[in-house]
């Protein structure tokens, strides 16, 4: 900050303008957060007392209370914004904000390979241009691409957007919205990122699950909503197993209220166990947490060892298995070794693979069987690994064998985190109103899964199975084959279905569908948030991509490889409405007027689509002729909020907590009805029951040796033998790359968000200062592995496999299981050269292949690499070889930044 940015006189109350925001790192909103500003500049961001505008009596019918053993728990009057929201001033005023439209200095529009300089993407810098010039480029390039190849050559990337909590102004499909008015587009589809194992595995065991498609369990009869799971756990569970995810961070992305819930459960005397390669942030700060260290992606072995104990000691619910499940015998025979394979999955067998002592596997089995146990899953860990469908399925098996749905035996997950149902709630996750114009999960005539974009660009054709959506899809859609380029008959079929759904005349001829030559991203972080990042960089650096434009708030990651970058507002700057839909103490609906002046020349994605729409005469098809204020009121009018509060009162107060359903306490919790009466409340599996072995998988993919009809211990092998992966300690590649990496989200980032928050970066565990003064991403290593490699704390460490090398710095800790390292995903890329990065963005070296042959989701944790100290002479060599990369501006507070990449 320059000196004129420093406020030198204390503000007075009358100078302040305080707005309420719903800042979160996800699209579903966060807890009410107050932003105090003076003269259009943010002074502070803080929690808010929800009884400021309503009396406690007025709020009484909107707030829940849990009770157990005379101890009660209810939402506090003061909100608990997520830690990220409280530091959001850093994001709004980041030195990494895109201030103006930027053009890469050596890229020219027109598609001439000699003027694209594709190989310089990620290397050459940017220059400031005006919005007029930027819109000219957008107009001329879109016209050129459409006239040369057709509109389907435009790939709209990033339907999940920047992940800020916005509504009307949200990104992640405004480009698709616009392109749909220009004749079509190819849609890049998000793959089931947080839920891979459940999506590809557990759905074949217990059905579509939450949101009719995510794969974590939910009853079909309630519209796939699991209500009152937390209430059920509070009242009945004795033990909670944290299977994946780190409660104190993942679960807190919308609110930090969850720390209080855990404290309450501790007060009630519940026990907790965390099976994780890392003694995670939840395990270390609560005395009650039992940590079981495990080698990454060996959970399937552990689970089979546990099930072996249950089967041989009769410690499972046999009646339930008889009445609620089918084909248990096949899994039982496999575990006991009485099948054709003949290998008993004893605790000894399991221990040799997962590294957990035999006695601890047995103790886990008996504790879970003898205590009323629920399982909490908040993404991360084994469900994001190679072959993640296997741990997804064994996770489902464990619950099935202990009577899923029985009082206190539930699966707790993001979409089952509602504390109590409000009367007008649409689901356990949806906000009360929505005016979002970008997140239309409509199908499209041609699409590419995000995990396969690089391959599509490189090979020109790909094939996959599954629906292009991650929510609202049924299990059987995983059996459909899709192609890129899309086959004409498939395109026509899809377009006819879309037209019919929209009540329009179905087309009779397929449009011209060509390959992709332009990428337009509203989520420019695929290289370090998704998989195979270096390979993605390679694909972008080819002449196939004639134009790559990104809309984004911050100059980072994929944008460094773009030709044009358009500056976007943060959620605090927009006039919008939001609120919160899930993972907060209690969802609210709220207005979020601008909390500060706009930064630079930024516009929201909605506004950018409107501006480009102007150039093509289609603006009114996007904004529908309404002003932003009219949109916001329209959002209220089309919601059910008006049943409880008038627009005038809502507008005056700025937020509202809908009343709880009168009978909310009586709603059957989680899977209770299935437990009590499986015939009347069946699952949506083919049999209506839990299927330990899937006939549907056997019928559709009879030759798939990776995802067979039931979960197995799969180690993969060489590609020439038909394997997708060799990423375990029992194959060939481990001889060269013997460490397994855990790459979960970080404590002080959410995925790729917030790596530039300077107040986080200086927290001891957040970054490691190298001998050169650069703040490197930490690689957490056990001292055994570090000493074996001559690595000491603070050393710069090369992490590599055949996919490339990223630089990190060592943090030696007892919190890591020997044989594994932890590098949190999502630090910003800082390219030195192709396949060499200084930023420590670990997903750059994650597998290029997907989950398995028929499952094209990502595998971004639990894979192999090697660690080696970067010596001073190697460092000097790199610096001499790549002087430009090492000469880029480096800010001591936020590291690489806007100035690193923009020429004066």
């Amino acid at each position: 900050m320059s000196s004129e940015d420093i406020r030198t006189t204390a503000a007075k109350q009358s100078d302040y303008s305080t707005t309420l925001q719903s800042i979160a790192c996800g699209g579903t909103g966060g807890e009410l957060t107050a932003v105090d500003s003076v003269d259009g500049k943010i002074v502070r961001i803080r929690p808010y007392n929800i009884d400021s505008k309503y009396t406690k009596e007025e709020l009484a019918d909107s707030l829940w209370e849990l009770e157990k053993d005379g101890k009660t728990f209810s939402p506090p009057m003061k909100t608990a914004p997520n830690y990220f929201a409280l530091a959001y001033k850093n994001r709004v005023y980041s030195k990494n904000r895109v201030m103006y439209p930027l053009k890469r200095v050596d890229w020219e529009p027109g598609g001439d390979p000699d003027k694209i300089n594709a190989a310089n993407r990620g290397k050459s810098k940017f220059e400031r241009i005006s919005w007029d010039e930027a819109l000219d480029i957008m107009e001329s390039e879109l016209k050129r691409i459409i006239s040369t190849y057709g509109p389907y050559s435009v790939l709209t990337v990033g339907e999940d957007g920047h992940r800020e909590s916005k509504d009307l102004h949200a990104g992640g499909g405004m480009h698709s919205n616009l392109m749909s008015k220009l004749g079509g587009y190819t849609r890049e589809t998000r793959t089931p990122d947080s839920v891979e194992g459940w999506y590809w595995g557990a759905k074949h065991v217990w059905g579509s699950g939450s949101n009719k498609g995510l794969g974590m369990i939910a009853p079909p009869q309630t519209g796939y909503n699991s209500w009152n799971v937390i209430k059920d756990i509070t009242e009945y569970s004795e033990l909670v197993c944290f299977d994946a995810g780190d409660w104190e961070l993942t679960q807190n992305y919308g609110s930090q209220f969850w720390s209080r819930l855990l404290k309450y459960w501790e007060e009630l005397g519940k026990e907790f166990v965390i099976v994780d390669p890392f003694c995670n942030y939840t395990a270390v700060c609560h005395e009650t947490m039992k940590w079981i260290p495990i080698l990454p992606n060996t959970d399937v072995a552990f689970d089979f060892g546990v099930m072996y104990v249950w089967i041989t000691e009769g410690l499972y619910d046999k009646d339930y298995v008889d009445t609620h499940t089918i084909h248990f015998d096949k899994v039982r025979d496999y575990i006991l070794g009485t099948d054709e394979e003949g290998i008993a999955k004893t605790p000894q067998w399991a221990s040799e693979r997962c590294g957990v002592p035999v006695h601890t596997i047995k103790a886990y089995a008996r504790n879970v069987a003898k205590k009323v146990t629920s399982h909490a899953h908040f993404s991360s860990g084994s469900v994001k690994t190679p072959y993640s469908h296997e741990p997804g399925r064994t996770g489902a098996y464990k619950l099935a064998m202990q009577g899923l749905g029985k009082p206190g035996v539930q699966q707790l997950h993001l979409n089952a985190s509602s504390m109590a149902k409000a009367r007008i709630a649409r689901s356990t996750s949806a906000p009360y109103s929505s005016i979002n114009q970008c997140r239309m999960f409509y199908p499209n005539a041609q699409s590419i899964p995000r995990t396969m974009v690089a391959e599509a660009l490189q090979k020109g054709e790909i094939k996959w199975w599954g629906s292009p959506c991650i929510v609202y899809v049924e299990t059987s859609e995983q059996f459909q084959e899709f192609n890129y380029p899309a086959k004409p008959e498939a395109v026509l079929g899809m377009m006819r279905a879309m037209a019919e759904a929209a009540g329009m005349e179905p087309p009779t001829e397929a449009p011209k569908v060509e390959k992709v030559h332009m990428l337009w991203s509203e989520k420019p972080c695929n290289m370090n948030c998704w998989d195979g990042g270096f390979n993605y960089q390679d694909a972008i650096r080819t002449n196939e991509v004639e134009f790559f434009v990104t809309n984004h708030q911050w100059l980072e990651n994929d944008s460094l490889f773009a030709d044009l970058v358009l500056p976007v507002t943060t959620c605090v700057e927009d006039n919008d409405s939001m609120g919160s839909g899930m993972i907060v103490a209690q969802p609210h609906s709220g207005l979020t007027p601008p909390g500060c002046d706009r930064v630079g020349e930024s516009f929201s994605d909605f506004e950018i689509a409107c501006m480009i729409g102007d150039r093509f005469g289609v603006r009114d098809q996007i904004d529908l002729g309404m002003s932003v204020d009219e949109w916001i009121q329209y959002g209220f009018d089309q919601s059910r909020l008006g049943e409880e509060i008038s627009w005038d009162e809502f507008k005056e107060k700025g937020y509202y907590f809908p009343k709880l359903d009168e009978n909310w306490k009586d709603l059957p919790p989680g899977m209770r009805q299935f437990y009590e009466d499986p015939e009347s409340f069946p699952l949506d599996t083919p049999s209506g029951k839990i299927e330990f072995w899937s006939q549907a998988l056997a019928d559709n993919f009879p030759d798939d040796k990776e995802r067979t009809p039931m979960a197995r211990w799969i180690i993969g092998g060489p590609a020439e033998e038909g394997w997708t992966h060799d990423e375990t300690l029992w194959g060939e590649r481990c001889k060269k790359y013997p460490l397994l990496v855990t790459a979960n989200p970080a404590r002080f980032r959410v995925h790729v968000q917030g790596d530039d928050i300077k107040w986080f970066r200086e927290i001891e565990t957040c970054k490691v200062k190298g001998p050169d003064g650069y703040l490197y991403e930490p690689v957490w290593m056990n001292k055994v592995d570090a000493e074996a490699r001559g690595i000491e704390a603070g050393d710069i460490v090369k992490l590599y496999n055949e996919r490339g090398c990223v630089l990190t710095a060592a943090r030696i800790s007892e919190r890591i299981t020997p044989g594994s390292v932890v590098v949190n995903k999502g630090s910003r890329v800082d390219p030195i050269a192709p396949h060499l990065d200084r930023g420590g963005a670990i997903n750059l070296i994650s597998p290029n292949n997907q989950v398995s042959k028929h499952c094209k989701g990502f595998a971004v944790t639990g894979y192999l690499l090697e660690a080696e100290k970067l010596t001073q002479s190697e460092y000097d060599e790199l610096k001499a070889k790549y002087p430009e990369a090492f000469a880029r501006d480096y800010d001591p507070a936020i590291g690489i930044n806007y100035k690193s990449w923009v020429v004066d």
Binding site: A11, L86, E248, K758, N782, T817
Partner: protein
């Protein structure tokens, strides 16, 4: 007189207190209370973290630390021209105008809670957010207190705080801190007891630590785990007994906590 109470047993390590402090003071001056804090590098509220034990018995203690607003403040004594002053409510403040160039103020603090601002040539530290307490702002409590969502940090009249059983940091310095702690870390010895022949954990084993500092006991739970907590720094003989079997090991908690890992009882 005001005081802070910091309850470490409730802390989850979110750093909200540290972030709130920075949100209030970095690049924002609240004169005459405080000049702007540099964008990074100073920690008027600092969460220290201590990794303790050995796998799989590992815990982290998070400890928010700040200016102790000492009754006998060494910084006050070291300051010239009354550059450090005590308010009626007990908060100790540095007057940025008068403190210019006075490095002695920073050097005097045995807790290292005062930082030097090179650009402004002044010492800086926690003000207890006195500008907020004095009114005319949207909130009237210190930011670290307001931001804490698990009630670790409370601020108020000393007489109204429950200070029973609390401690201060380094009482031996003799500065009479007005920041009180509950749950300051003591040492632990932990382990998992198992029978190597049966490959089973042992539940209900009696674990006794004896030494000059006293005798402490624990019983292994259904995971085979024992946790001997709140131990003083000392040398111990830890004896594990179950089913007629007995094992003794020498353990020291003088310099660190001890996670003994899997302990075979045979």
């Amino acid at each position: 007189m005001k005081a802070f109470l910091i309850d470490l047993t409730k802390c989850v390590g979110c750093h909200d207190c540290q972030i709130g402090c920075k949100d209030e003071h970095c690049d924002q001056a609240w004169m005459p209370y405080a000049e702007a804090q540099p964008e990074v590098g100073q920690f008027w509220m600092k969460v220290k973290q201590f990794e303790r034990g050995h796998a799989p018995h590992v815990k982290v203690t998070y400890m928010p630390t700040m200016c102790n607003h000492c009754e006998n403040a060494p910084c006050e004594a070291a300051a010239k021209n009354g550059a450090v002053y005590r308010r009626e409510d007990g908060l100790v403040l540095i007057d940025p105008a008068k403190a210019k160039g006075q490095r002695e103020i920073m050097d005097a603090c045995p807790y290292h809670a005062i930082y030097w601002n090179d650009a402004l040539n002044i010492p800086q530290k926690c003000t207890g957010c006195a500008h907020l307490l004095d009114g005319d702002h949207p909130i009237s409590v210190p930011r670290c207190v307001d931001n804490c969502h698990v009630d670790v940090i409370t601020f108020g009249e000393e007489a109204e705080l429950d200070l029973e059983g609390t401690e201060v940091l380094h009482p031996e310095y003799g500065t009479k801190p007005r920041v009180f702690y509950r749950g300051l870390p003591k040492k632990f010895i932990a382990g998992t007891v198992f029978d190597p022949d049966a490959e089973e954990i042992i539940e209900g084993a009696l674990v006794t630590a004896t030494g000059d500092a006293g005798t402490f006991t624990a019983t292994t739970d259904s995971w085979g785990d024992f946790w001997l907590r709140d131990l003083p720094d000392a040398e111990w003989t830890v004896t594990i007994e179950h089913g007629g079997k007995k094992k003794s090991v020498a353990v020291s908690t003088v310099s660190e906590d001890q996670g003994l890992g899997d302990v075979a009882l045979c």
